[in-house]
Amino acid sequence: MASRIARLLQHQNRRLLSTAAEASSRRPPRAPLSGAIPKHEVAKAEASSLKKSRWYMIKSNPSSPLTTQRESHKVSTHLVRPSASYSTQASEQNPKEGTKDLKTVEDPFDSPTYNIPEKPVTFAEGASYSLVIVAGLGIAAVAGYAVFKELIFEPKEYKIFGKALARVQNDSQVTAKIGYPVTGYGNESRNRAARQRIPNKVWTDEDGVEHVEVNFYIRGPHGAGKVYSEMFKDNNDRSWKFTYLIVEIVSPHRVQLMLESYVPA
């Protein structure tokens, strides 16, 4: 407050000094020295200009009505400035009240959050969730097992079919009769699934040896035929061996070839 009032006074002093400087520049320097001369010049100044009259009125007595009006104006300016400073102080105090309001507003938000209770899940509910999860995992495992068992671990009939077809394709007697690229398929049909299905029979004999018998068709550029093959799993060296591999070529000429026939060592 004091510092601000001091600043305001400094501003007023500066204005007075500037007006005094202007007056001195216009008037000769002798006038302020004598006391009688200013009284004479006062009348002239009133007639000449407002600025001069202002300068002299400041120093002269406030008895004249003109001076009283101007003094009242000055007083009003004085009153306005302190009011501005008061408004400034009020504006400074306002944010403090605002912060208090924010603090009070924040509290109601926090308390309900702290007061929300947490209900524990019942044992039965948790158990049912666990059962659902286990059931889902079980279904996924069954599907995965089915896929792997049927495809990744190749079925026996397709394994035997592959071995027999490779043997037939590499045999010179067959290629000489029906041509070189020999194709093998399971059925004479246009249906893809039916053609891919190999007729097969799997059984175990009295000695515990596993036998797989497959029949499939072969076709080449110059003819076609049918293959009858049986393989058994030798328990001694754990490998598949041919019991017999018979190729019956039906076109161009009907010929029957026996490429493999098992003879025990």
């Binding site: 599907a143 089915a146 896929v147 049927e150 495809l151 079925p155 397709y158 079919f161 592959g162 077809l165 394709q169 690229p181 020999v182 194709t183 093998g184 398929y185 399971g186 059925n187 004479e188 049909s189 246009r190 249906n191 893809r192 699934a193 039916a194 053609r195 891919q196 299905r197 190999i198 007729p199 097969n200 029979k201 059984w203 004999d205 009295e206 000695d207 018998e213 029949n215 076709r219 076609a224 049918k226 009858y228 019991t243 017999y244 018979i246 019956e248 039906v250 076109s251 161009p252 029957q256 026996m258 026939s261 098992y262 003879v263 025990p264």
Partner: protein, 223 residues
């Protein structure tokens, strides 16, 4: 002589058959799906009109998508048959993966790889399910098969002619089931094939019975 031989080779012509079949499945399935969807999304009083409009707008698009997929799948499958010179489930799985990857190729190698993996897994599940169904359906036939097997092993020469007779029946059943979904002309051709196949089967049976006496002799020596 060449005509019946080439008629038996399905691969180049099968692509067109599969395009038509896939379009049919897509159009019919899409019609049903979008009719129900349109009916559900229409206000009361306009449900049939909404369903019909949805079908007219969407069924051809769905049919077209299915036709594209089916045609590509069949083309890749025939390519695999030609390359491998054998028909087994792996052809379908690889063709499914190739189709998925090919259709997503313009989205980048990452997306194409993922689509190929998804296509391969889908076809693997389909093939696996088919094999399991075939095995389950094939369970009853082995029961009568086991009966002649046991006396065959026990009796020796007497039951041997019974063994080759059993595998002849499954291909006939398969061919008849396959013929059900064929063309009119192809149906006639398949009937002829069946007629031809049956006498050849009989002849093969006779030939097998003639040759099988040589098979048990080595096993006898082995015992």
């Amino acid at each position: 002589m060449g005509t019946p031989e080439t008629s038996r080779e399905p691969c180049p012509d099968r692509i067109l058959d599969d395009v038509g079949g896939a379009f049919g499945m897509g159009a019919v399935g899409g019609s049903l799906f979008h009719f129900l969807k349109g009916t559900y999304n229409s206000p009361n009083g306009e449900r049939l009109v909404g369903g019909a409009q949805a079908v007219r707008m969407n069924a051809p698009r769905v049919g077209g998508s299915f036709a594209v997929w089916g045609g590509l799948f069949s083309a890749f499958d025939c390519t695999m048959v030609f390359m491998r010179q054998k028909e087994d489930p792996w052809n379908s799985i690889i063709a499914g993966a190739a189709t998925g990857g090919f259709l997503s190729m313009r989205q980048g190698p990452g997306a194409a790889g993922r689509s190929a993996l998804m296509g391969g897994m889908l076809l693997a599940l389909i093939e696996g399910a088919g094999l399991m169904l075939n095995r389950v359906l094939a369970t009853p036939p082995p029961l009568p098969v086991d009966d002649p097997n046991l006396p065959a092993v026990m009796g020796g020469g007497g039951g041997i002619p019974g063994i080759p007779q059993v595998p002849v029946a499954p291909p006939e059943v398969a061919s008849s089931s396959g013929g059900g979904s064929g063309w009119f002309g192809s149906l006639f051709g398949k009937k002829e094939e069946e007629k031809k196949a049956s006498p050849s089967g009989g002849k093969s049976e006779m030939l097998e019975s003639f040759d099988t006496p040589s098979t048990p002799i080595p096993t006898f020596e082995y015992k």
